[in-house]
Subunit: 342 residues, 2 copies
Amino acid sequence: MKIERSKNKKLNSPTSYDVARKAGVSQSAVSRCFRPGKSVSKKTREKILAAAKELGYQPNAIAQGLITKRSNLVAVVISNLTNLAYPEVLAELTQRFSAQGIRVLLFTLAAESEVDEALDQIWRYRVDGAIVAARLSDAQLSEFADRGVPIVLYNRVGGEVAAASVRCDSVSGEAELVDSMVAAGHRHFGIIAGPPDSYVGQERVSAASARLDKHGFEAAVVPGNFDYASGEEGLRELVRITAGKLDAIICANDLLAIGAIDYARFELGMRVPEDISIVGFDGVGPARWRGYQLTTIRQPVRRMTAAAVAMLIDRIEQADLPPEQRVFAGEFLAGSSARTGG
Amino acid sequence: MKIERSKNKKLNSPTSYDVARKAGVSQSAVSRCFRPGKSVSKKTREKILAAAKELGYQPNAIAQGLITKRSNLVAVVISNLTNLAYPEVLAELTQRFSAQGIRVLLFTLAAESEVDEALDQIWRYRVDGAIVAARLSDAQLSEFADRGVPIVLYNRVGGEVAAASVRCDSVSGEAELVDSMVAAGHRHFGIIAGPPDSYVGQERVSAASARLDKHGFEAAVVPGNFDYASGEEGLRELVRITAGKLDAIICANDLLAIGAIDYARFELGMRVPEDISIVGFDGVGPARWRGYQLTTIRQPVRRMTAAAVAMLIDRIEQADLPPEQRVFAGEFLAGSSARTGG
DNA sequence: CTGTTAGCGCGTTCAA
DNA sequence: TTGAACGCGCTAACAG
């Protein structure tokens, strides 16, 4: 029972009425003065701005949102921020939105099950749109459509329900990696997969498998969790189930690859890439460190985030745009963690 | 000139009136039904909830905020998200706030100069409070006080203007690192600093210098930028200005230390820690990778974020709490990138 | 417990 | 160009 309500100083934050009184004009004049493209005479504008500055007045974005039905808020939903690939994405997104006068309401999920809770809040805040890098069910996806909230998926795609999306091409990326390893003479492949609930993880693994199949090879696949530790465990497991008969490891992301490299070097006493080739995916910062020089596919994060932001804003301004899907080719980073050829 | 305004579907999102009509009750009954601790009879509650579910009604948080003066929004300002230490902090913060029914408005700064722009938006959105991991001038800090917006600094402190803050103890951390290296017999120290505008960077460097001084040693100091590349450059520069006479490097953060280790190994052909000891600060993920096993101080991120969230919420609920400063001791990770003793 | 009423701060008609 | 009046969706007295 909260008996005493705190008296919040915010209560006193100046309103457009305060400014109007001080400037000797009407409240609506103040409103127009702070709204682009509205007609106010130079003289009154000056009076108003002076009064506003003196009072430290800033238009109340909450009240604006209530009346204009534009909160200038977008939700960004990211399932696991600790994935090394996401901080850069998030920073790019917020800065790009910010440049467009849009603020980011951040939702990070510790578990995929929290997505419903996040959606609830998203509806409540009447965000203008959402960028989602988390798994969404068809029902959840259609709720966005039903509520008229534009959405752009990031490195995800819709299922039955079509949705706008931006992603990096796993198929061509993995094909490039596989081809260059095959060309270099590798014959015994292993794959360390991502977590089962990761869309890109699945896609990358199946893309790699398919490409290997095309060359007439088959790979042993072990599960992983997109982190360093499961890269180590993955390689250990692969060595076990193949009785050591391996010369090329394809990892669903860079972190797995780094874990695998370290395990190969420090536990198995192997040289990378002389004894075993290991490739990743993403092109995160550590992939380029001297100790790893990962052979990998770098996602074009800047272009992808720019596209995501542009697509979302387009859909905010014009409601019924088709669910465009933009697929970006990754950049092959040769690195030196794999022998490549071709 | 925007001639045609888009017709946003959101226009039609159901209001409490819609629910009231459908349930055959008054609008205020609906309001009470969605407000904790308000009395509604079981029967009407059921009617209302049924109607609400059918319409997909969610209370409009924007309108709620307007009237209650509680937006349930807090701003989180982070200057450089790409600093490996922050993603974890951000994820912890948002999840903890979320658990308290509070949403996070994220501001990431590409440059410290953008802080004014961020503050402008913070005022406009009438956030209930802010967590700031960026440099704030005294004027900016007092504006928070003037506007009655509680703030908690993260790994920063106020200057003349006192402010609540949570941080990791650089002094004791660096002392521990220095002492253990001195005990192991190191005599020629170098320091790779953080960027000049980083508070923790400065603090760590001066703490290390002071402790070395106490032991009768002096260190060569070179500037750095908290990233891998400047760790490499820093070590190169240190070697140059000391003519190679170095056996211990203290880095202002882990990333610098990792860059220095790689440079020592791959460019200088030195063994770490046999030929040179290198220590960092933060305890980020890669610090524990097999290839580095950094000797460092791990920030207790979970406890620090928990404290920051608790302190902010306390100050939201009770306005004029004193500007408490909580300093957390870091955990010494022995690692194996430095010879330690004592 | 319930409905009525009066705003929260602002944007936007509409006359003047 | 300006001001008066209204309403966005909701909460919080208040009377019943």
